[in-house]
Every structure is written in structure tokens, then in C-alpha cells.
């Protein structure tokens, strides 16, 4: 009679509890049993992160900051489709959910359906492939070419340590949502979105203020119906709003950014200012630190967001110099940094990225550190499970 840890075949059960040891007798069983080394299978499981953002795929600033924090860089896969949206690095692979469009651009135009509409996306395939990668199996993922608007031949994706799925609908489908270990929603307010799109598109021949406005307004109904509701499911929401420090209308230069962190999320401890669970309003500029107009204002508090308990950290204003960044970092707690000044260092390394001088870059970097911390906790847990199983 041999006693060893075994998995039952995945054919009948969706959930195989890794880490349980089952005593087997050497009699024939009714169902097939796949015996696998627990150590190998536990390590193979990928950590999946979901990011909901409207700004295109893979090359966004958030992705670049995240891959920088996780280390190992991220490049488009070599030798593959040059218009691929995927980024592959040592630590993480980023896949773009636009690749799961079921209708290409012509198909969507024929049916009068935007890319935001769930009817244009194949959620079954998305679930199938993300769960396959999560279990350690490589997949052939389709490629959606943003330039031609066609679906190109599939590319092979090998399971990485961390898989980031970025796009419009990472949390729309319930099955995919359950696969996510952590999810983030980037909530850009309408005024800021308008200002950013102006910056992006005004240099483009053919675009005018009216066309940019019309484009945003035409997409708004679908956006509000299908994309916006995902924010209630996110573990962290980064809200970008216009500033409150400058009384009259400015051009979206100075931003007020809020990091809304859900309480009680596994392996995620929210960042706080001074005293966890209290309400703080903090203006660091004064005697010790001199800032230029309009300065910096922080607040921290707690509340509810879509019926969940949350902590909210908010920054309004801009960083002007290195001193301010390091000063602020030294007063924030639970950042999950590995050394003092890591946040500042990350922000400086990417000083040319948009948002490097305000809360959006700061909070994106912090969320990146939280994801790294989550991954390391998962790895540590597996190591404990493996050693327990071996002892049995």
C-alpha cells in the first residue's frame, strides 16, 4: 500500500485542491488517477493579474512601470508577428484582451457594434486559455492586429510566472474574474480623459477638437454599460480626477489621483498614511519641505465603495523635485518596498513616462510593488506546502 500525494484527473473536477495527500490502495480505481510530483505542479501555477484600462494594450505606462518593478523587462516576442500586442519578460507576460475579439473591425462595423460591447469578444476562449496558462499549459492565442483591424494567425504563449491580462473586459466574465489573483481598474474621469485625448490626437492630421469630443461621446454609452461596472470587482481602483488645488479650469496638467484599496483581499495589505484606519489630511509642504505652486496635498481615509470596505489614499498636486518624492515616501507605510527609497528610484528611472510627477505614476508604482509582494507570498506559500507534502 503506497501512500503518496495524488491528483484526480481534471476531467471531472474543476477544482483540484493542491496540497492534499490521498492514501491510495493498489486496487484499480473507477476513475483515472494522474500521479504527479506535487512540487512541480504547485510551482507551475501562474499568478494572474487583471488590469482594466481603456488606453490600448501592453505598451501602456502602467505596464511598463509594472514590468520594471517586477524586473526582467518585457519585450514583444521575438521573431513573431511585429504587430503582436503581447509582451514577454523574465518575470511576467502581458497579454492584450483585444486578441480575444470575436469580430474584426469589418465585422464590428457591419453589425454596428463597438469593441467595448461583449458581443465582439469571445469570453469562452478567454476563460479557456487563461485557465490553461494558469495551470501551466502553453496556448495558441489569437492575435488582433490593431493596424489592419484583422485577426492574425495565433501565437504561442508559454506559461510565465506572472500573467497580466490587460484590456477592456478582464473582470466582465465571472469565470475569468475568479481566475484573477489581483485586479486593478484604471478609472479616468471624463475631463481628464478629454484632456489626455486632446494631447494625444491634436497633432494628428484630420483630428479636431470636435472629432475628439464626438469620438468620446459616441463610445460613452457602451463604456458606461459594459466597462464601468467592472470597477466594483476590482481589488484596487486608481481614480484620476482634475485637481482641486487650482480653483479655475486648468488643462488637466495637475491631477488628483485616488488609490482605492479593498479591505480583506488575500495577500494584499493596503498602503496607509501615518495611522491605519484613521482619517488624515496632510500637506507636506511647509517648513521642512518647500514646494512650488500648486504644491501637494495628501489625504487618507476609509469608507465604502460599491458596498465594500475600502481604504482610500489620495494625492493632489505635483512633484517638482526629488526631495518631495523621498519625503512623501518616507511618510507612507506598508509600501512593500525592499529598501528605503525604492518608490522614488522607480519613479526616477522612468521620469520621462507620463504621470511621473503626480499621483498616477506614484500609485501605479505602488500597485506594482503590491503585485510583486503578492507574487512572493504565493511562492512562499507553495514552498511551505511542498515541504509539508514531502514530509507526509
Amino acid at each position: 500500500m503506497a501512500a503518496f500525494a495524488a491528483h484526480t484527473s481534471a476531467a471531472t473536477s474543476h477544482y483540484s485542491p493542491a496540497g492534499t495527500a490521498i492514501l491510495l490502495r493498489s486496487r484499480r480505481r473507477a476513475y483515472p488517477i494522474r500521479v504527479s510530483c506535487l512540487a512541480a505542479s504547485a510551482v507551475d501555477k501562474t499568478v494572474v493579474i487583471g488590469l482594466a484600462a481603456d488606453s490600448g494594450c501592453g505598451k501602456s505606462t502602467f505596464m511598463r512601470r509594472l514590468t520594471s518593478v517586477l524586473g526582467g523587462g518585457a519585450e514583444p516576442p521575438r521573431g513573431g508577428n511585429p504587430d503582436s500586442n503581447t509582451l514577454v519578460g523574465d518575470a511576467a507576460t502581458v497579454i492584450c484582451l483585444d486578441d480575444y475579439h470575436s469580430l474584426d473591425r469589418a465585422g464590428r462595423k457591419a453589425r454596428g457594434v463597438t469593441a467595448l460591447d461583449p458581443r465582439a469578444n469571445d469570453f469562452d476562449l478567454m476563460y479557456e486559455q487563461v485557465s490553461a496558462i494558469k495551470e501551466g499549459r502553453a496556448v495558441d492565442k489569437p492575435v488582433y492586429n490593431h493596424v489592419t483591424g484583422l485577426l492574425d494567425p495565433p501565437e504561442r504563449i508559454a506559461p510565465p510566472k506572472i500573467l497580466v491580462i490587460e484590456g477592456l473586459h478582464p473582470m466582465y466574465d465571472e469565470r475569468v474574474r475568479d481566475l484573477l489573483d489581483f485586479s486593478i481598474y484604471l478609472d479616468i474621469s471624463d475631463e481628464v480623459k478629454f484632456a489626455w485625448k486632446i494631447q494625444r490626437d491634436m497633432a494628428e492630421r484630420g483630428h479636431s477638437l470636435e472629432s475628439i469630443k464626438a469620438s468620446i461621446e459616441a463610445r460613452k454609452p457602451d463604456f458606461d454599460a459594459y466597462i464601468d461596472p467592472q470597477k466594483q470587482y476590482a481589488d484596487a481602483v486608481i481614480e484620476v480626477l482634475p485637481t482641486q488645488l487650482i480653483p479655475d479650469d486648468d488643462d488637466g496638467e495637475v491631477l488628483r489621483v485616488r488609490l482605492i484599496m479593498k479591505e480583506g483581499v488575500k495577500r494584499f495589505s493596503p498602503v496607509y498614511l501615518f495611522d491605519e484606519g484613521s482619517t488624515i489630511s496632510w500637506i507636506p509642504c511647509g517648513r521642512k519641505l518647500s514646494c512650488s505652486y500648486p504644491g501637494i496635498k495628501f489625504s487618507y481615509g476609509f469608507g465604502t465603495y460599491f458596498c465594500h470596505e475600502v481604504s482610500v489614499l489620495e494625492m493632489d498636486g505635483q512633484f517638482d523635485k526629488l526631495d518631495e518624492l523621498i519625503y512623501v515616501e518616507s511618510h507612507l507605510s506598508n509600501l512593500s518596498t525592499k529598501f528605503y527609497g525604492e518608490v522614488t528610484q522607480q519613479m526616477l528611472t522612468h521620469a520621462d513616462f507620463p504621470g511621473s510627477n503626480n499621483g498616477s505614476g506614484l500609485f501605479q508604482t505602488i500597485v506594482g510593488l503590491k503585485i510583486r509582494d503578492l507574487y512572493e507570498q504565493v511562492v512562499a506559500e507553495r514552498a511551505v506546502m511542498t515541504s509539508d507534502a514531502v514530509r507526509l
Binding site: K109, G149, E204, E253, N357
Partner: protein
């Protein structure tokens, strides 16, 4: 444009501009110092590749036509969605061009172990 945190980069880029005079038929020409990327994108950012740029302008015209007849329908939304998608693709293409502008960076990506490309962390 918003100022970046590491404004220390400003002097470096100016120093990189070459100021050797070139003699052209008795007159002395000084090449104008160029600011390269890293800040103030509006002054000298790369332009979108023409194919994508044409696609963007075409799609805008089509969208305006579609929406002139019937506003608020699926076709109108799909047309503007296409404009948004192409504008995003154009912006990514511009960023890619900006990234590929530095020949040293490109060389070092392929050959990080050569003398010119070595980095020291401590």
C-alpha cells in the same frame, strides 16, 4: 508641458549637440542645437507613419458621414470606435518611433556585453 522630476537631464541633452562649424563656400554654418526626446514632446516628437495617419483621417471622415445621417445608432458608435482604435494605434506607432530613434540604445539592446553598453549598478 509638465516638468519631469529629474530635470537634471536638461543640461546633458544640450551638451550632446555638436557645434563644429562646417565651411560652405566661404560662409560658416553652425548646426542648430537639437533637443532630443525625453521631455517637451510637442516641440520635436516623431510624426505618425503615413499609412496609419491616412487611415486615421479616412476613418474620421467616414465616421462624420455615418453620424451625419443617423446619430446615436450602433453604426455611428462603431465608426467612432474605429477612429479611437486607429488613433491609439497611431500614438503607439509614434512612441515606437521615438523609442527606436537612439542608435546606441538599439545597438545595446542586442549586444549588452560590449564595452559601450556595460552598466554598473554599484
Amino acid at each position: 508641458m509638465a516638468s519631469t522630476v529629474a530635470s537634471l537631464s536638461t543640461p546633458a541633452t544640450f551638451a550632446a549637440a555638436d557645434v563644429l562649424p562646417r565651411k560652405v563656400v566661404g560662409r560658416v554654418w553652425f548646426p542648430v542645437a537639437r533637443r532630443s526626446g525625453g521631455f517637451a514632446v510637442s516641440s520635436s516628437g516623431p510624426t505618425t507613419p503615413p499609412e496609419i495617419s491616412d487611415k486615421v483621417s479616412e476613418s474620421i471622415k467616414k465616421a462624420e458621414e455615418t453620424c451625419a445621417d443617423e446619430k446615436g445608432t450602433g453604426e455611428c458608435a462603431a465608426a467612432w470606435d474605429e477612429v479611437e482604435e486607429l488613433s491609439a494605434a497611431a500614438s503607439h506607432a509614434r512612441d515606437k518611433l521615438k523609442e527606436n530613434n537612439d542608435p546606441l540604445e538599439n545597438y545595446c539592446k542586442e549586444n549588452p556585453e560590449t564595452d559601450e553598453c556595460r552598466t554598473y549598478d554599484n
